[in-house]
C-alpha cells in the first residue's frame, strides 16, 4: 500500500488546509529547523496512534487567533491510501470552538474510515479497524521513526519477539512444542504405570524413579543457577562493553591523577624547603657583634696575657712552696728520725729545770736570768719547741689565687670566638640561602609547568570522554571489579556446567535402567508409542529453534546487504546479531564486528547506518512475507550523516521498492546575497520520486505562535 495524500488542517503550524500529494518510492520533505518537519511527523503519529489527551496542544494558534469568539473550526489529519488499486481514506479530526480570547472548547475526536471501490463507490467504515487492516499496528511499529535515537528497535527487549511474531514461522511452533510435551508426558506415564503394575519391579522401579526425580529437581536447580550465572555474565559483559570505551581514558586519568598528586606533593615539599626569613638572620641579636670584633680581639689578648701572667705567678709560687715543702720534709724527716739534740744538750725537762734553777748543769756554772747563759738556754728550748710545731698552717697560707676567674674568662673568650665565627658566616649563609631558594623556586616553576601539562592532558582525557571525571574514575574502579566478577562468574559457570553434566549423566544411567525394566515389563506398543512421541517432540522443538535462527540469519544477511550499500567505499564492519537468553527468553543485540572483533562504541553515523539497514531489512521482510509493501516515515533519521553520506543514503533508499517519506533538513542553505533560504544545487542530483519544501511564511514573529504558518511547496 502507499499513502497517496496527507492533509493537515489547522494542525499546529499548518494553518488552514495543507496537502502533500505523495508518490510511491522516495518522497523527500525538506525543511529547516523549526519550520514544521517534526509537526508533520507528529500529525501522522497522532493520526495512527494518538488519543484524546491534550488535543488543545494540537490547535493552530494562528487559526485560533483569527477565529471570531463563538466560532468554530476543524483540526484534523487525514491520509488517502491506495491498496490493491482501491482508495481508502482515514481521517481524524476534532472541532475547536473559541469561547473567549484565551479560552477554547474541544470536541472528542472522530476517526473516520472511508473505502472506495474500483468503480468509485464510497462507504464509511470504522476508522481504527480500517487503519489496522491496511497498515497493521505491528508493521507501523517498524515503519515510523523520529530522530536517530529511535532507530535502535532492539533497545526494546520485546522487539525480537514482536519481529518473530510478525515475520518468522517460529511463532507457529510454540503451540506444537507445548502440545508435543503433553503427549510425550502422557506416553511416559502410560509406560510407567504398566511397569509398576508388575510387583517384582515395583520397589526397584520406584527407587529409580525417585532417584531420577531427585536428580531432575537438582538438574532444574542447577539450570536455574547456571542461567542466573549466565545472565550475570551477560550483564557484566554488557557493563564491561559499555565501560570499555571509557576504560582506556579512565586508566589514563588515574595515571595522570597520580602524577598530578606526586607533582603537587613535590611542589609542597619544595615550598616547605624555601626559607625566606633573611631579616631574622640579619636582626639576630648576635649579628651586631660582628661590628665589635676588634673589642673581642682586645679582650682575647688581655685574657691571654692575664692567663700567661697568672701561670707565671703560679709557677713562681709553686716553686717557693716546693722549696718550703722540701725544707719541711727534711725537718720532718729529722724529727721523725729522732735526731738527738746536739751533744751536751739536755732534754726538754732538764732544759726547763736548768732555766728554772738558773744554773747550767751541763757546764756546772750559774746562769742567772738575763745572763748570756740563761738566754742561750731559753733560745735553745724555744728552737726545740719550734721544731716540734706542725707545718700545715704554713701550706694553707700558700694558695696564690683564692678564686679562679681565669678559666671563666678563657671559656668566655672561646665562646665569643665561636660566636664570632658563626656570625661571620651569616652573610655567606644568607647568600647561600638566596641561592638555595632560587634553585628551589626554579624547581617549583618546572614542577608547575609539568603540573599544567598534566592538567591539560587530564582535561583532554575528560573532554574525550562522554562522561565526567568522577564517573570516569568510577568506571575504572567498577571495570576492575567487574573483571574480577566476570572471572568468578565464569568459574561458577564451569562448575555448574560440570555439575549439570554429572547430574544429566546420572539421569541418563537411571533412565536407561528404568527403560531396561520397561522393555522387559511394559507392553511393546506402549514403548513404541512413547518412542514416537519423544521423537515428534524433538522434531517440533528443533524445527522451532531452526526457524528462529533462520529468521535471525535472514535478517542479518539482509541488514548487511543494505549496510554495505549504504557505506560504499567506507569501512563499516558487519552487523552481527548476537543472541542470548535473558530471563529464559531469547533476546538479540545487533553488534558491529570486524573479523569477530566487536566495536563497542561505533560513531553515531555508523550506528545510524546500522539501525537504518536493519529497519530496511525488516521492511523488505515485510514485503516478502506479506507480499505487500508498507510505507516508512522517518523524521531526521540522518542527523549525524555528512552531506555525502546523506546523498548516498538517499540514492540507495531510492532503489528500495516501498514508499518512503523522509523529513530532512539537508540541502537547504542561506543565500549570501539575498539572505534568503534556498535549496542547494546538490539536491538536483538526489534521486527521488517527489520532493516538498515546507517553509514558514515570512515574516513571522518567532515569539508569537499566532504568526506561524507552514506552507507546503511541491518541488
Amino acid at each position: 500500500m502507499i499513502i497517496k495524500n496527507i492533509s493537515l488542517e489547522n494542525f499546529l503550524c499548518y494553518y488552514g488546509l495543507k496537502e502533500f500529494e505523495l508518490s510511491k518510492g522516495l518522497n523527500i520533505i525538506l525543511g529547516n529547523n523549526g519550520e514544521g518537519k517534526t509537526k508533520f511527523y507528529e500529525a501522522i503519529d497522532w493520526l495512527f496512534n494518538g488519543d484524546d489527551r491534550n488535543l488543545e496542544l494540537l490547535v493552530s494558534a494562528k487559526m485560533f487567533s483569527e477565529t471570531e469568539i463563538e466560532s468554530s473550526f476543524k483540526v484534523g489529519v487525514s491520509i488517502v491510501v491506495d491498496q490493491y488499486d482501491e482508495k481508502k481514506i482515514i481521517a481524524k479530526s476534532f472541532i475547536v470552538k473559541k469561547e473567549r480570547n484565551n479560552s477554547l472548547s474541544i470536541s472528542n475526536y472522530s476517526l473516520l474510515g472511508i473505502e472506495e471501490t474500483s468503480n468509485g463507490q464510497r462507504y464509511q467504515v470504522d476508522g481504527k479497524s480500517l487503519l489496522d487492516r491496511i497498515f497493521p499496528f505491528q508493521i507501523r511499529r517498524y515503519s515510523m521513526f523520529k530522530g536517530e535515537s529511535e532507530l535502535n528497535i532492539f533497545k526494546n527487549e520485546d522487539a525480537l519477539i514482536n519481529l518473530i511474531n510478525l515475520f518468522s514461522d517460529a511463532k507457529h511452533f510454540d503451540k506444537y512444542t507445548d502440545k508435543c510435551a503433553f503427549l510425550r508426558d502422557k506416553a511416559e506415564r502410560a509406560v510407567e504405570e504398566a511397569t509398576k503394575s508388575d510387583k517384582k519391579n515395583q520397589a526397584l522401579y520406584n527407587r529409580l524413579k525417585s532417584e531420577i526425580e531427585n536428580h531432575k529437581i537438582e538438574e532444574y536447580k542447577t539450570k536455574v543457577h547456571l542461567n542466573s550465572v549466565e545472565e550475570q555474565i551477560a550483564k557484566i559483559e554488557g557493563y564491561l562493553q559499555e565501560a570499555e570505551c571509557h576504560v582506556k581514558n579512565a586508566d589514563a586519568l588515574e595515571t595522570i591523577n597520580k602524577r598530578i598528586r606526586n607533582i603537587e606533593d613535590r611542589i609542597s615539599k619544595l615550598n616547605g624547603m624555601i626559607d625566606e626569613k633573611y631579616t631574622t638572620s640579619l636582626f639576630d641579636e648576635n649579628w651586631i657583634l660582628v661590628n665589635f670584633e676588634s673589642i673581642q680581639q682586645e679582650f682575647s689578648q688581655k685574657v691571654e696575657r692575664l692567663n700567661k701572667e697568672k701561670r707565671e705567678l703560679q709557677s713562681e709560687f709553686d716553686r717557693k712552696i716546693g722549696q718550703k715543702e722540701g725544707e719541711k720534709k727534711a725537718r720532718t724527716e729529722l724529727l721523725n728520725n729522732l735526731i738527738p739534740l746536739p751533744v751536751g744538750v739536755p732534754s726538754r725537762t732538764y732544759m726547763e729545770e736548768m732555766i728554772k734553777d738558773e744554773w747550767c748543769k751541763v757546764c756546772n756554772r750559774p746562769a742567772p736570768k738575763g745572763s748570756d747563759e740563761y738566754n742561750f738556754m731559753s733560745k735553745r728550748l724555744e728552737e726545740y719547741l719550734i721544731s716540734q710545731t706542725p707545718i700545715e698552717e704554713e701550706i694553707d697560707e700558700g694558695v696564690l689565687f683564692k678564686f679562679d676567674y681565669m678559666n671563666r674568662l678563657l671559656t668566655m673568650n672561646i665562646s665569643h670566638q665561636d660566636n664570632l665565627s658563626s656570625l661571620r658566616k651569616i652573610k655567606s649563609n644568607i647568600k647561600q640561602l638566596f641561592k638555595f631558594n632560587d634553585a628551589r623556586k626554579k624547581d617549583i616553576e618546572e614542577q608547575l609547568e609539568a603540573l599544567e601539562k598534566e592538567k591539560a592532558d587530564r582535561e583532554r582525557i575528560i573532554g574525550d570522554s562522554s562522561i565526567g571525571a568522577d564517573k570516569l574514575i568510577n568506571v575504572l574502579k567498577n571495570y576492575n571489579a567487574w573483571q574480577e566478577d566476570k572471572r568468578l562468574r565464569y568459574q561458577e559457570q564451569v562448575d555448574y556446567r560440570n555439575k549439570l553434566r554429572d547430574i544429566q549423566e546420572s539421569i541418563r544411567i537411571k533412565t536407561t535402567e528404568t527403560e531396561t525394566i520397561d522393555l522387559k515389563t511394559a507392553q511393546t506398543f506402549l514403548i513404541k508409542t512413547r518412542e514416537v512421541l519423544r521423537d515428534i517432540e524433538k522434531i517440533f522443538n528443533e524445527t522451532k529453534d531452526r526457524k528462529f535462527n533462520e529468521f535471525i540469519e535472514h535478517l542479518e544477511k539482509k541488514s548487511n546487504s543494505i549496510f554495505e550499500k549504504l557505506n560504499i567505499e567506507s569501512f563499516t564492519g558487519t552487523i552481527n546479531f548476537y543472541k542470548r537468553m535473558v530471563g529464559g527468553k531469547p533476546i538479540v543485540v545487533p553488534e558491529l564486528q570486524e573479523n569477530g572483533r566487536t566495536f563497542y562504541k561505533p560513531n553515531q553515523s555508523l550506528l545510524t547506518s546500522m539501525h537504518i539497514s536493519i529497519l530496511f531489512a525488516i521492511s523488505e521482510l515485510a514485503s516478502e512475507l506479506r507480499e505487500e509493501e508498507f510505507p516508512m516515515i522517518f523524521d531526521a533519521p540522518t542527523s549525524s550523516f555528512g552531506d555525502d553520506k546523506t546523498f548516498q543514503f538517499l540514492n540507495l533508499i531510492y532503489e528500495t521498492p516501498n514508499q518512503k517519506i523522509l523529513l530532512i533538513k539537508d540541502f537547504l542553505a542561506t543565500d549570501k546575497t539575498t539572505n534568503q533560504l534556498v535549496i542547494k544545487d546538490d539536491f538536483k542530483r538526489v534521486n527521488r520520486n517527489k520532493a516538498f519544501w515546507i517553509k514558514l511564511e515570512r515574516p513571522f514573529d518567532k515569539n508569537n505562535l499566532a504568526t506561524l504558518n507552514t506552507n507546503v511547496i511541491t518541488l
Binding site: H172, F525, I539
Partner: protein
C-alpha cells in the same frame, strides 16, 4: 501454500526421519492430506497433530491424545 502444508514441510526436513526411521525423500509427503494417508506412524502422527492444531476448532488435549495414542498403539501391534 496452506499453513498446514507449510508446517508439515518444515518438520519433515528433520534429519531424524532419515537417520532413525530410514525414510527417503519419496516417503516424505509434501501435503497434509498425503501425510494423513501415510503408513509411516511418525508421519501420520505428525500430520494428525498439525491437522488438529491448525483446525479452526482444535480438539481438546485428552481427545487429541486419544487419537494419537490409539493410532500409535494400533500401528505398533
Amino acid at each position: 501454500m496452506a499453513r498446514k502444508d507449510d508446517i508439515l514441510q518444515s518438520v519433515m526436513k528433520h534429519e531424524i526421519l532419515n537417520d532413525k526411521y530410514q525414510l527417503s525423500d519419496k516417503d516424505i509427503p509434501d501435503s497434509i492430506l498425503s501425510a494423513l494417508k501415510s503408513s509411516v506412524p511418525i508421519i501420520k502422527c505428525v500430520a494428525l497433530i498439525i491437522d488438529n492444531l491448525e483446525n479452526k476448532t482444535p480438539t481438546t488435549d485428552p481427545v487429541l491424545r486419544n487419537i494419537i495414542t490409539q493410532y500409535l498403539n494400533e500401528s505398533a501391534l
